[in-house]
Amino acid sequence: MARNRKNESNLRVAPILLTVFLCTILAGLGVGYVWYKNQIDVLGRQIKARETRLAELQRDNRMRREQLATLCSPVALDARVKKLNLGLEPPALGQIVRLIDAPDYDRSAQPQPQLAPQARPAPPVKVALAARKN
């Protein structure tokens, strides 16, 4: 009898554990599902917030680009120089003396310049008021 009772008691614990286990699993699945759905919602909101932020930044970027374009426009630069009376202008052609370096200067490859009657071919000049790249 005692043996039987012992066996009966073992039989009762197992279903309880199984039930608890299954309930835990089911509850876990339920909570997990809700958590998962919640995460989807949270991530969706984060995506939306970031998309909104990205759109704002792109909009700001376009506004800045427009400002930069306006500031870089030759018309605006000219107007600014005149307004501030800076006196900035490129040097006149007569103010530029070009350096002719002998090794780089292949006279035969250059088109023959038409010389003014009073002018003669200039020897290579090493002293310059201003030098500009060609």
């Binding site: 989807i40 919602d41 991530l43 969706g44 909101r45 995506i47 939306k48 909009r59 376009r62 506004m63 680009r65 427009e66 374009a69 306006t70 870089c72 426009s73 030759p74 018309v75 605006a76 000219d78 490129p90 040097p91 006149a92 052609l93 007569g94 003396v97 070009r98 088109p111 023959q112 310049p113 038409q114 010389l115 003014a116 009073q118 002018a119 003669r120 071919p121 200039a122 020897p123 000049v125 002293v127 500009r132 790249k133 060609n134």
Partner: protein, 638 residues
């Protein structure tokens, strides 16, 4: 327990059972009926009317949002933006949230939207209509498009602080919610964009402008020609909204991003364009013509580096300018070219070996009778060599070369130089010009003598400068190139345009001879000494054509100078044209009406500044510094 007596007791018991059963059946029947009704309703809702309700549910939650592309930029050759798209807003209203307070909202918004409050009041008046037996109230009324973000921020501030003259704290929650909704939701926006031209009038005729009220569709210029490339392709997003119209991102179904428009990179150089427009404006102020135009071309490729017509306009506000200012006269106006056209006949004569530069023609001391008409020179010349015919711009000399060529040959050269047909520049509104066929009735006996001097044909300024560029390009006529490439928004190359040769118009030997002749024009002996440059050899030709009014020549002129430099290695070809300049300049000095004196100085200024800007190497060697120093000392003068 005492049992009921006999049959009577049993009967009572049976009746009670029957009553119970009856109640049970009634209840069961009622429940079955109720469940049946519910089941029927369930089937009705879920199966029979499924499609209708699904549609209604989707209308409530599912939205397809159009995602607009950003219109591409127009850039100059160095990437300087000439036309860009700036974000803006469409201001919309929901009158159903305003009740009868819409006049107050209209009064508050009218100054910000730069409109009158009567108009806004009319727009904000709630309107009702019946649709499927339902009363609907207008919920979407666009008030103004292309509103800047700054204005939208001000509108938001104004709406948030709008007062309706009631103490809202004492109202019930429903009224408070009404006022809250009115302030926060009755005015809302949609995304939009404005086309902005940072350079204002710079290259306005090249860029064109867009229709701001119609999806930024290009109306003229590059905006029109490349509209398909610039516009891009819209995308869309199919998604679901909650009750407060917030997007439920996890329920997004389709999400197709828009494809932004391509950037159009022009061959125009904004720096050169600015130089051209500045100097042209100065010339216009000095000579007061009806209009002035200038084109700068790189002869070897046909690239147009600058193209300007005055009067011009600001594409940011085209409505403020007369229609006349919107026309690109360089391609849309045709006129008799005058003496610049002599390059065609002389090139033809040289190329056909009918004349040489040293051949001499009798110019009849300024008068020549041909086919019943007297032809005149602007000065009396006797014998002139072919070179001098170019130098002095003798009409009679050119006419005699034309007569020697014959009409078929002359016509062939006119055609080969590209006259009488569109050049193919990618701008709308280009004209063919007028060149009559030799077999046509319009080609008269005197045409053979008139056309060589630039009468009896009508050309565009662009055709003329491309013809001169052909001489500067060793005799090869190029197609004008205005667009260098198309780029993706990130800068990746999409399409690269290449220079395109149309045809050879003359042999290199002929071209060399022509250039020698053209070099004599900007000299003291020639007609355009003002076009001479100190550091570069210029080859060019002047033109002064009488204008035609109602079929008769009048004392109004169409002057031009087209030149290229350095003459032996041409890098720039520049055409300056003025329509009806005054004989006297702005200071009252008499300057005449010839291309050399009107357009020559403008060419000189543009060429000098452009050469400096491009850092072109001079082909006229400056005197050596030692010589300069010696010349500066008094002893050197001896």
């Amino acid at each position: 327990m005492e049992e009921p007596n006999g049959a009577g007791g049993r009967l009572i018991l049976n009746m009670a059972i029957v009553r119970q059963h009856f109640k049970l059946y009634v209840m069961a029947g009622f429940l079955s009926g109720a469940l049946g009704a519910l089941g029927y309703r369930l089937v009705d809702l879920q199966a029979v009317q499924h499609d209708n309700f699904q549609k209604m549910a989707q209308e409530n939650t599912v939205r397809t949002i159009e995602r607009l592309p950003v219109r591409g930029q127009i850039l100059d050759i160095h990437g300087t933006p000439l036309a860009i798209s700036v974000p803006a807003k469409v201001i919309c209203a929901n009158p159903s949230l305003m009740g009868n307070l819409y006049p107050i909202v209209a009064r508050a918004l009218a100054p910000l939207l730069q409109t009158n409050d009567a108009f806004l009041t009319e727009r904000l008046t709630p309107r009702m209509w019946f649709d499927s037996n339902k009363i609907n109230i207008t919920k979407y009324v666009p008030l103004k498009r292309k509103v800047s973000l700054e204005t939208w921020a001000k509108i938001q501030q104004t709406m948030a602080s709008l007062s309706f003259g009631v103490n809202e704290s004492k109202l019930n929650w429903r009224r408070q919610a009404f006022y809250d909704n009115l302030r926060a939701k009755s005015i809302y926006t949609e995304e939009d964009q404005i086309r902005s031209y940072p350079g204002q009038r710079l290259a306005s005729h090249v860029l064109g402008f867009v229709d701001n009220n119609n999806n930024l569709n290009g109306l003229t210029g590059i905006e029109y020609s490349f509209n398909t490339n610039l516009a891009g392709v819209p995308g869309w997003r199919k998604t679901e909204m909650d009750k407060r119209q917030r997007e439920l991102v996890p329920y997004r179904d389709q999400d197709v991003p828009p494809r932004d428009g391509l950037n159009v990179v022009l061959s125009i150089d904004a720096g050169l364009q600015n130089i051209v427009e500045t100097e042209l404006a100065a010339g216009m102020k000095k000579n007061m013509p009806i209009s002035a135009s200038c084109i700068m071309v790189r002869p070897s490729t046909g690239e147009i580096l600058a193209m300007a017509t005055l009067p011009n306009f600001d594409p940011n506000c085209t409505g403020a300018f007369p229609m006349d200012a919107l026309r690109n006269r360089i391609i849309a106006d045709v006129a008799e070219p005058g003496s610049t056209f002599k390059i065609v006949v002389v090139t033809g004569g040289l190329n056909e070996n009918l004349v040489t530069l040293n051949d001499r023609f009798d110019c009849g001391m300024g008068k020549f009778f041909y086919a019943g008409r007297w032809l005149h020179d602007h000065a009396p010349y006797g014998d002139l060599s072919v070179e001098n015919i170019i130098t002095k711009s003798s009409n009679i000399g050119a006419a005699k070369i034309g007569i020697r060529m014959g009409k078929e040959t002359l016509w062939r050269y006119i055609h080969n130089f590209g006259f009488g047909e569109k050049t193919g520049i990618p701008l709308p509104g280009e004209r063919d010009g007028i060149v009559h066929a030799v077999t046509s009735r319009e080609w008269t006996a005197v045409s053979i003598a008139q056309i060589p001097m630039g009468q009896g044909v009508a050309v565009t300024s662009l055709q003329m400068v491309m013809a001169m560029s052909a001489l500067a390009n060793n005799g090869v006529l190029m197609r004008p190139m205005l667009v260098n490439r198309l780029e993706e928004p990130g800068g990746k190359l999409a399409v690269q345009y290449k220079p395109e040769a149309v045809r050879r118009v003359a042999t290199p030997q002929t071209v060399r001879e022509m250039i020698e002749a053209l070099k004599t024009v900007p000299t003291k002996e020639g007609t355009a000494v003002a076009a001479h440059l100190d550091h570069y050899t210029v080859a060019g030709k002047t033109g002064t054509a009488q204008k035609v009014d109602h079929g008769h020549y009048v004392q109004k002129f169409y002057t031009s100078f087209i030149g290229f430099f350095p003459a032996d290695n041409p890098q720039l070809c520049i055409s300056v044209v003025m329509d009806d300049p005054r004989d006297k300049d702005s200071e009252g000095r008499s300057v005449g009406h010839f291309g050399g004196v009107i357009d020559g100085p403008v060419f000189h200024n543009i060429a000098e500044r452009a050469a400096n800007y491009l850092d072109m190497k001079p082909d006229i060697a400056p005197p050596p510094p030692e010589a300069q120093n010696l010349a500066a000392t008094p002893a050197a003068h001896h």
